[in-house]
Symmetry: C2
Subunit: 135 residues, 2 copies
Amino acid sequence: MIKIKKINHIAVVVNDIESALKFWRDDLGLSLDHIEDVPSQASRVAFFSVGEGEVELVEPTEPDSGLAKYLEKRGEGMHHLCIEVVDIEGMLIKLRAKDVKLINETPLELPGRRMAFIHPKSTNGVLVELYEIIE
Amino acid sequence: MIKIKKINHIAVVVNDIESALKFWRDDLGLSLDHIEDVPSQASRVAFFSVGEGEVELVEPTEPDSGLAKYLEKRGEGMHHLCIEVVDIEGMLIKLRAKDVKLINETPLELPGRRMAFIHPKSTNGVLVELYEIIE
């Protein structure tokens, strides 16, 4: 059994982070940690701590990216659910053995974490991201 | 400042909970707490604990309900994000003062909790549920 730790974050795709701060920071009152450019994902991300997890606002920065096309097609809203696990490689091996459709067959290595996406076709329409945090 | 506690749950609308257990319980390995009929919401809900929060699978049980129509129109996927706060009435007063569009102007009283939904028009397309847990 691969250990599931927590909901790491919920990502919300938005047209414009500055405008979206009105609701999430000013009205609802979430605590904004920081805003970061993520060129590898063609996006800019605002991070809000909520309990042990985060809400992230994601704005596409390149018009031809997958995220920009998603936004154009579906409009603003929840984009993905990230679940943090202890052993992402073990999890991907298990999922492959169960014929779950993966977007990333092996984990992407990023500073401080490993990550992989599971295809919504296998998850009742939810884009699920898996994280393993590297201490 | 109204205290934000945590992400209480993420709800995923599905056609059929029994089929959806394949991915969420059997493949991913989330821990199923229980499945419950919620006649007041015209739905059946499967609850999975994930860290301090939950993933909930929600299946409409009446074909004319709002949830059933949402499912028919948008297909399976993430339905709402529930954020737990300490003082839901204070939060709703604050949101009204900021012209946030509310689905429930006052909290609905349910056993063990008060709840209200914020309209996606005010939240970048996310149906946000607010919870206050009553000890």
